[in-house]
């Protein structure tokens, strides 16, 4: 009787340990991905890290359903994106209440050299152009720009067909080029 109970308790401990070990592996391989997804929306390190942490905490609570690697990454990416958008909107509302101009774009390190200034301006323009894209196109171009994901990987993360990703990527690039050219002529 006692042996059975000990064996059962041992199995439970082992199962929990397995779960914790698997989650640790997912955390290590996906932490940068989650952070960058959040950063692409928020452009602030502290906020992005906070949102990514929150997403991991939620993922852990549902980890028994998300043990499969691809499923976990896709769920994590979408959850992080949603939470980052929510945080972004909350930040905008807060800044509007405080009467501060809602400038949430990256403020790169101030430099005095001409090349660095140009680079900063270019980065600002690119962020602005990305911000003006429709959400679906923006999500695709951001995921494609993170860690060199190819079409198949982006499709897996978004749970959409490859062709959808391809067409969205085409549209996103086209609109980005148009907006950048418009900004350059201004």
């Amino acid at each position: 009787m006692h042996e059975r109970a000990d064996r059962l308790a041992g199995n439970i401990v082992t199962a929990d340990e397995d779960l914790a070990r698997e989650f640790e592996a997912r955390l290590v391989e996906s932490s940068t991905l989650a952070f960058r997804v959040a950063f692409s929306v928020l452009r602030q390190r502290e906020d992005a890290e906070d949102v990514a942490q929150e997403a991991f905490a939620k993922a852990y609570r549902s980890f028994r359903q998300l043990r499969e690697r691809d499923r976990f990454r896709a769920w994590l990416v979408r959850m992080t994106w949603r939470m980052a958008l929510d945080r972004h909107r909350a930040n905008k509302r807060r800044l509007a209440r405080e009467g501060v101009e809602a400038g949430l774009h990256t403020r790169l390190a101030s430099t005095t050299t001409g090349d660095a200034v140009l680079a900063n301006e270019r980065a600002e323009q690119l962020w602005l152009a990305i911000d003006t894209l429709p959400e679906k196109l923006r999500f695709v171009i951001v995921l494609a720009g993170i860690q060199g994901h190819d079409i198949r990987e982006v499709a897996a993360l978004l749970d959409v067909p490859d062709g959808t990703v391809k067409s969205r990527l085409f549209l996103a690039r086209k609109q980005l080029r148009e907006r950048l050219s418009w900004m350059a002529t201004e």
């Binding site: 929990d16 779960l19 989650f23 955390l27 290590v28 932490s31 940068t32 952070f35 960058r36 950063f39 692409s40 390190r45 992005a48 890290e49 990514a52 942490q53 929150e54 991991f56 905490a57 852990y60 609570r61 549902s62 980890f63 028994r64 270019r122 980065a123 690119l126 962020w127 990305i130 171009i141 951001v142 494609a144 720009g145 993170i146 860690q147 060199g148 994901h149 190819d150 079409i151 990987e153 990703v165 391809k166 990527l169 085409f170 690039r173 086209k174 980005l176 080029r177 148009e178 950048l180 050219s181 350059a184």
Partner: protein
């Protein structure tokens, strides 16, 4: 991830001279931010604060139980609703205070008639009335004055144990009932209906 770039990318060049490859490189450099070295450790700490995985269904079980309890309560409620016990003056208490002028039932339904009592008595009635009130939802019964008086006299005589009203004796099973012969009824004659308007000419119509 695996090193090779987006295989759906064309070498298209836009009006600004930016081709897709350059655009992708720019976006990649924008998104190349790295989290702080303590990030993973902070995630571990945050995860450790939360509940264990797999306990999510407990909250669902609790929520379902609460919903079931609410449903049962809502379904059981209407069966008790029609029987509403609101306290109302008990007739016996009232009779003692006002006796023997107005019978209890009548007093409850004709408050104006119970007022002739003295203020002291009235307060006694109110005090007794507020003690026990049972509100049974019955239709109002209107009773004629002479009936009220008769009933009051009956109650008073009963209370004084001097009930001497003649009560017909119960019919004896042996004695045969006397059946009186009813008077004859004349047959009813109904005159035929005559359409007067049809018989009259148009000129004679008023």
């Amino acid at each position: 991830m695996d090193g090779h770039r987006m295989n759906g990318r064309s070498e298209r060049t836009g009006p600004t001279g930016v081709d897709d490859a350059a655009l992708d490189r720019e976006i990649e450099s924008l998104l190349g931010a790295e989290p702080s070295p303590e990030f993973v450790a902070r995630v571990r700490a945050r995860v450790a604060e939360g509940p264990e995985p797999g306990q999510w269904w407990m909250s669902w079980v609790l929520a379902a139980g609460a919903v079931a309890v609410v449903i049962v309560a809502v379904m059981a409620w209407p069966s008790r609703e029609p029987v509403s016990f609101v306290r109302e003056p008990v007739q016996t208490a009232r009779v003692e205070a006002v006796e023997p002028v107005v019978p209890p039932v009548v007093a409850a339904q004709t408050p104006a008639r119970s007022q002739p009592s003295t203020p002291g008595r009235k307060s006694g009635v109110v005090a007794a009335a507020t003690e026990r009130r049972i509100d049974i939802d019955l239709p109002e019964v209107v009773i004629a004055d002479n009936e009220v008086k008769t009933f009051a006299a009956l109650v008073a005589s009963l209370r004084q144990s001097r009930f001497d009203a003649p009560v017909p004796a119960a019919p004896d099973a042996v004695t045969r009932l006397e059946i009186k012969e009813l008077p004859p009824v004349e047959p009813l004659e109904i005159e035929p209906i005559v359409k007067v308007a049809a018989l009259q000419s148009e000129g004679e119509r008023p």
